[in-house]
């Protein structure tokens, strides 16, 4: 279309260019010829495409109109017909539509569009027939059974005549049936899963990619619907909820691994046709798997007040299920069984996958080490056995899992070509999410329990520093293998922001603080774990010959934070806290400027200088606001900020110039 429109102006322009002497007559001919050749080619292709689409659109419209007409006809004439006439017509309609399709298949050909249209109308007419019989006889008992019957009929017809529309219609009807069963009757029909397995097999055999994705969505729907049913109707205690959240980790791992296996990755490459047909569903599984893994990490790493139900923890509950049959006296314990079975199945599949990975890895170097799968699986398995009301263990496990998850996913997605590019991006996004969401948690704690403000905020500061160290360790490990870690700067940026603003928020005058030893034991345990883990990582970086300055920088911040925590208490005046936090803030922003300069990161320098400026300006206002009158204060402040800004900006320019020169020198060498 566009080309055609362009043709006229081009012809006119060619004449004009010839007149003005821009082109010669030969050139004009050459250009015109080139276009006249190209244009018909494209137009023909477009026409061919239109030819293919036109009959499809027309026949589809005809089918829709015919169907609507049939419905309208029956709606308006129904009341005038005696029941027997109605029944005869319904039977005749079904037979006639299928019959026409049959005759057309023999006269015009089976794959003709019109034949297909009559076949689809035949499939639809059966559903119509069922609805009409139900109406004539006022049947209202369990209508979903009739939807299922229609689904089965549609499936058989679709398979027999190789009709994809019927296949998709049948899947949609099965899904409708299940939704009906689940929501109207609150029934969990396991038959749905078996039906989905049948559809999966058929779609796989027929290489229907969209069908496979739809079946996968059906499986996910069943998983959630069945579990929500259990949790809302049967298991009303916390333990059922927790187990359900825990199960997301093994399921996520299984989906990610299964997706990669199915798609055919280095080391497990299967160069057959299945890869192409399984690609969309595998990608869907991988996406879903990663998101699922986040669920227990984000869901259970909070100081949750979970009550111990009768169930307690897994071994105790299993014992009860095995030996005490009377569920009624144990708060419906046997109803936990489905979740246990899900758990056992998932962990078994995960175990098989890990064994397979170990086995295959011996043959192929391209496969990732199995640590990601093993450690995360072990974490979920451990959670399965944790007593429900032990807040400290839940927190500790949750945070350990978060730190391991961030480290492992960042490392593996950046070191093995087994993973896709989008998984690298996901790993970075998840790391940021796990950093900031925990910030909200700690800050929430600080607001809620103001007398332990320091304990909470410094908890988050140490967590941010810990994450920073994790990013450094990942970068270090990758560097050992000669691999780059592009998101390092961005991730450091995130942890610096969380660290600075947390410290900044406690650098003001605050109310009297309690000694952190009086805070919740779970919080103290967590802080201890952060310090311990941080020290381990610091030592690792030091030994592995990473930049000593980074270790030193984080080490100083750790020590200062620990000191502040140790000395906090009701006997200290706010000045004590203020001095120490301001020292930490200064160390932080200046240290960051230093590190950023060392790594020639312009963004980091800008950020660090920004931190520094904000800190100084705030303290300046803190100090002098009450001492001078408003106008003098503002004038002097303006002048100082102007000067300070100028100096800072000059310093930043110098630094950037230095970076450019250093880079140029490096390039020259």
């Amino acid at each position: 279309m566009l080309k055609k429109k362009l043709m006229v102006p081009l012809a006119a322009s060619l004449d004009l260019w010839l007149k003005k002497g821009i082109i010669s007559e030969e050139q004009r001919k050459a250009i015109a010829e080139l276009h006249s050749k190209r244009l018909p080619e494209k137009t023909e292709a477009q026409l061919r495409a239109a030819k293919r689409w036109l009959p499809k659109i027309m026949v589809s419209m005809a089918v829709v109109l015919l169907a609507a007409g049939l419905f309208l006809f029956y709606a308006s004439n129904w009341r005038h017909m005696p029941p027997i006439a109605k029944l005869v017509q319904v039977f005749a309609l079904i037979a006639a539509l299928y019959g026409t399709a049959f005759v057309l298949a023999h006269k015009l050909g089976e794959r003709q569009l019109i034949t297909r249209a009559f076949l689809v109308l035949g499939i639809l007419s059966f559903g119509l027939g069922v609805a009409l019989v139900a109406q004539i006889y006022h049947i209202s008992a369990h209508p979903s059974n009739y939807i299922l019957a229609w689904a089965v009929a549609a499936l058989l017809a679709a398979l027999l005549c190789d009709e994809p529309v019927g296949l998709y219609l049948s899947l949609a009807l099965t899904f409708t049936w299940y939704v009906f069963e689940a929501f109207a009757y609150n029934k969990l029909n396991v038959f749905f899963v078996a039906a989905l397995a049948v559809y999966a097999f058929i779609f796989y055999k027929q290489a229907k990619r969209a069908g496979l994705v739809a079946v996968f969505a059906g499986f996910l729907f069943f998983f959630y619907k069945s579990n929500f049913y259990l949790l809302t109707s049967v298991l009303l205690d916390d333990w059922g909820n927790v187990l359900f959240v825990v199960l997301h980790m093994p399921l996520g791992l299984v989906l990610v691994a299964a997706g990669h296996f199915a798609i055919g990755q280095p080391g497990i490459n299967r160069p057959d046709i299945s890869q192409a047909r399984l690609k969309p569903v595998s990608l869907a599984a991988i996406w879903a798997g990663w998101i699922m893994m986040l669920v227990p990490l984000l869901g259970l790493s909070w100081p949750l007040e979970l009550k111990e139900a009768n169930s307690g923890y897994a071994p105790k509950a299993l014992w009860r299920i095995a030996f005490l049959k009377d569920g009624a006296s144990f708060n419906g314990m046997p109803e936990l069984l489905p979740i246990f079975i899900e758990g056992i199945v998932l962990f078994t599949i995960l175990g098989v996958i890990i064994l397979q990975l170990v086995k295959q890895r011996k043959k192929h170097e391209g496969l990732p080490k199995h640590w990601l799968f093993s450690l995360m699986g072990a974490f979920a398995f451990t959670q399965f056995f944790v007593p429900i009301d032990n807040k400290a263990i839940w927190l500790l496990l949750g945070y350990l899992a978060i730190v391991s998850f961030v480290a492992l996913t960042l490392y593996y997605t950046h070191s093995h070509d087994w993973f896709f590019y989008f998984e690298q991006k996901l790993a970075v996004i998840f790391s940021a999410l796990l950093l900031f969401s925990k910030g909200l948690g700690f800050d929430g704690g600080a607001v809620y329990r103001n007398e332990y403000l320091y304990a909470y905020v410094l908890g988050f500061v140490t967590y941010s520093l810990l994450m920073y160290l994790v990013f450094q360790v990942v970068a270090r490990r990758l560097a050992e293998h000669g691999l780059p870690f592009a998101p390092l700067n961005r991730l450091s940026f995130f942890s610096s922001i969380s660290c600075f603003f947390s410290l900044y928020s406690i650098s003001f005058k605050i109310k009297e603080q309690q000694a952190p030893f009086g805070a919740e034991p779970s919080l103290l345990l967590l802080l201890g774990a952060f310090f311990l883990l941080g020290t381990v990582l610091l030592v690792y970086l030091w030994i592995k010959g990473a930049d000593k300055m980074i270790a030193l920088f984080v080490g100083i911040l750790f020590v200062l934070s620990a000191m502040l925590l140790l000395f906090a208490g009701p006997e200290r005046s706010w000045i004590f806290y203020s001095i120490i936090t301001n020292i930490i803030l200064l160390v932080f922003s200046l240290g960051l400027v230093f590190l950023a300069t060392r790594y020639a990161s312009r963004k980091m320098v800008a950020l660090a200088l920004g931190f520094f400026a904000l800190h100084i300006t705030t303290r300046y206002f803190d100090l002098f606001w009450d001492m001078f009158s408003g106008s003098i204060m503002l004038i002097v402040s303006g002048a100082i900020i102007f000067l300070g800004g100028f100096l800072l900006e000059r310093h930043r320019h110098r630094l950037f110039k230095y970076f450019t020169e250093a880079k140029a020198q490096e390039d020259a060498q």
């Binding site: 319904v90 049959f102 027939g129 069922v130 109406q135 006022h138 019957a149």
Partner: protein, 209 residues
């Protein structure tokens, strides 16, 4: 169709047989000699998905044991859950043909044991079971909501309103003169399964012809 013509026609025949079986089942039920008249209470008459129909709710749609208005016995003290079957025992009241429930039970055998002469059994499915204080046993205040599969009466377009109004006016007029009553004649088989035979408004069978 071309490759497997026989199978194709077998499938078409099966589909027609399925419809035929649906028809036959209902016809057999409707020809059953056991019929009862049940009284209706008003409910929302229209539904988007079912075309034009009247939603029927019966006096026996909610079962409350030892209720003063409807003395009803729970014969086996079963703890009902959603989708459980419940067998309701009906006997003829003062008006000819009109039946009311006098007991219910969770299985057919017990129902038949307690069945007096002239009484019949109708099978329903529990759609909601309400036990105050979460108690396991039936007691005062516990209610079962039951569906019998005869809750829809399909009617020609715009006719639904007439039936609905008739049901409503029975209540609007209050007890006494001028009230219209809606009764449904059900056919029952020996398993307690029911089908709607006729609908009566003020004693007159509804006829749409």
């Amino acid at each position: 169709m071309k490759k497997r013509p026989v199978l194709f026609w077998v499938l078409v025949t099966l589909e027609l047989c399925f419809l035929g079986a649906m028809v036959l089942r209902q016809e057999l039920l409707l020809n059953s000699k056991t019929t009862v008249l049940l009284r209706c209470i008003p409910v929302d008459p229209r539904s988007l998905f079912s075309g034009d129909y009247v939603a029927l709710k019966y006096d026996i749609s909610s079962l409350e044991p030892d209720n003063e208005g409807m003395p009803l016995k729970d014969l086996d003290g079963h703890h009902y859950k959603k989708n459980d079957n419940v067998y309701v025992l009906l006997k003829e009241g003062d008006k000819e043909g009109e039946h009311y429930a006098f007991a219910y039970v969770s299985n057919m055998d017990t129902a038949q044991k307690h069945l007096p002469d002239g009484a019949v059994i109708i099978r329903g499915t529990v759609s909601k079971a309400f036990y105050p204080n979460g108690d396991q046993k039936q007691q005062n205040g516990s209610v079962l909501e039951v569906r019998y599969g005869v809750e829809s009466y399909f009617v020609p377009e715009r006719e639904g309103k007439r039936i609905e109004d008739a049901i409503e006016s029975r209540f609007a007029a209050g007890v006494g003169a001028g009230q219209s009553e809606v009764l449904v004649e059900l056919a029952l088989n020996n398993k307690g399964i029911s089908a709607i035979k006729r609908l009566f408004i003020n004693g007159e069978a509804v006829n749409f012809k």
